[in-house]
Point group: C2
Chain length 384, copies 2
């Protein structure tokens, strides 16, 4: 039904009306005092979200632009880095690093499995000459619904003493605890259309003091993504280039809502939705793709055995106007993904589980378990 | 007065209500068929605006990102280029090129004067070894209100036979005729918050076949701004990275309005506004900063002699809620700039001239000419 589509994909995620209203205001001059006030306020809010006292810079661009900025501002041609790869986004950061002539050692695990922190520990401990300049990893791997153990890996990076941790937190920030300073993460990249509950178009890069020290030595060419220009402008609550003014309006509205809810409540909500989604799917015989205990709080990948995942996804969209995400690359047709990131409430999760059940029934795939998904999900959602 | 500010700066420019309404809609999935339809339609509209049959690619980013993409996708480290510089944006492209190790020969003229096409001709004709790979110029130099002679310079580049023309048309596209194919321009960069009548956040890069040939040889590192990825995605009406979906909604709404008005009418309107603004300022004794006959149809820089330009600008804003632009760098306090680009009607121009006159009067600077600005502007605006 027209205008009734419910987004349950990992991005763009649903956007609250107040955020859309803020977006649709007349733009103001990006060099005006009024706009500088917005930059000042949102910067403080972004620090709150990242749990950092360091810089958080806003770029007009996607999460990929933010992640690329994090990499190319802290590294130089020929630098050795360790890159974790257990999904499409891990692959992407390997490509970015290689595009700039960085010497990448890839630590892979199978898609659906988490990265193994012990492998990182071994390689880092074996690096007696301290040649490794950075460890690049994806916290929540959106393509597989796996949450990697960023806390432990960044602890090993700190023990190494020289390398920095560069983390893609695009679908973890605002979904689960990412205490940047406490965990000692040096670069965090994220994007607006995820936990931020706003439309795509802004990327964010948080930088620790160690990241800025690395930036001093970086020799990779850049201009639009040169973070030193953003830092200089940020000291005047400004931007080096014309920013997406209207997206800043919606950023402030969304961060206001997040602050009103509070980080603890936000994280609990996402954990509850992960648990309810997983329980609902398992109860109707649909296996979870990510390894047990390593599911992302942002997205659940489901790997049905008796039906093509794309067919199920299409039916759910056509009949119930719920957009689920498909599998990427070799997972196309093998998994579908339920996004429960950002502006998602218990009703949305209950509805998604119910609609998937109803669709299986309509396709004649009732194995006697239809209704059990709702029951399992509701038990978790209504627990006191 | 709150919410009454009128933007007469060179960007962000005023945005029509229908464009804001389109912006404030709920986002849709960027990999959906519905979104692919928007990409397909806006791409055709962008070709219409650029008067080209070549590719026009949309990037989430500023005009600077688009211009940087144009440069780094067609050139290699050590390549020799000619860069025209007669204002802040000319300076910027020199910086971008140098940041990537490109060998830049700068052809300068004083700020306020146009680039001299004959200097380009001489250098290009003298390049017997055909070492010059590109000529990089700014069509409408926003910092000074000068329109450079892109048509003649690109003709000389074509006569050279090897070099390509890379043009910053950020404030000329949608304000005056830029027939890309007819003039033989190879790369045109622009940004959404200008003639497009929409908020900032999208950049556009148009590429000729010759530009794509150059792209094949380019060895500069890039990822987010790698246009080959955009071209590949565009063949499926898609984007390589998550685009600013809501800005695409407003892009289509704005281009619909532009097509309804028609290119000829749009250009006539901007030429009329340039003429009326210049005549109004001259009539009250305020000199135009750009050389006679070389004013931009997008923006008029004015260099008052008897008052600090920043003071005048502040008074006009405080009293009449009209935001004019100040001078940049060494022109700060020496010029103010009246933007008449995009969604600007005759009333806006009449109002700006009148408000400047009234402000001079209120400051006790009536030299007997107050009222003459209105008269001169209205003669042009109401001519049949």
């Amino acid at each position: 039904m027209q205008e009734k589509l419910s987004l349950m994909i990992p991005g763009p995620t649903p956007v609250p009306e107040s955020v859309l209203k803020a977006l649709g205001q007349h733009p103001i001059g990006h060099r005006s005092g009024e706009f500088q006030d917005i930059v000042r306020r949102t910067t403080a809010q972004l620090q709150w979200l990242h749990q950092t006292e360091g810089d958080v810079l806003t770029i007009t661009g996607s999460g990929t632009a933010a992640m690329e900025a994090g990499i190319i501002n802290t590294l130089s041609r020929g630098d050795k880095v360790l890159c974790g790869e257990n999904g499409k986004f891990g692959e992407r950061w390997v490509k970015v690093a290689k595009a700039y002539g960085i010497n990448v050692e890839v630590l892979k695990t199978e898609w659906g499995q988490p990265l193994n922190p012990e492998e990182f520990r071994k390689v880092l401990e074996g690096d007696k000459k301290k040649e490794i300049k950075a460890v690049i990893i994806t916290h929540s791997e959106t393509s597989t619904g796996v949450l990697n153990d960023l806390q432990t890996i960044s602890k090993y990076v700190r023990a190494h003493g020289q390398a920095i941790t560069i983390a893609d937190c695009v679908t973890s920030l605002g979904a689960c605890d990412v205490p940047m300073d406490n965990w000692g993460i040096d670069v965090i990249a994220s994007g607006s259309q995820k936990g931020y509950m706003m439309p795509p178009g802004l990327g964010f890069v948080a930088m620790s003091n160690r990241a800025w020290e690395a930036q001093q030595k970086s020799d990779l060419p850049k201009f639009y993504l040169d973070l030193s220009q953003y830092k200089k402008a940020a000291s005047k609550n400004s931007n080096p280039f014309t920013p997406a003014v209207n997206l800043y309006f919606s950023l402030e509205a969304a961060l206001n809502m997040m602050q009103a809810e509070g980080l603890t409540s936000i994280f609990k909500r996402h954990h509850r939705h992960r648990a309810a989604t997983q329980a609902g799917m398992k109860a109707i015989g649909l296996p979870i793709f990510s390894a047990e205990g390593h599911g992302s709080p942002a997205i659940t990948a489901v790997a049905p055995k008796t039906i093509d995942a794309e067919q199920l996804r299409k039916e759910v969209k056509d009949k119930f106007d719920i957009l689920l995400a498909g599998g990427q690359d070799h997972l196309k047709g093998k998994v579908f993904r339920i996004g429960h990131l950002g502006f998602v409430n218990d009703r949305d999760v209950l509805t998604a589980v119910s609609a998937i059940e109803a669709t299986l029934q309509s396709l004649g795939l009732d194995n006697g378990q239809i209704g059990q998904g709702l029951k399992a999900a509701s038990e978790i959602l209504t627990a006191r």
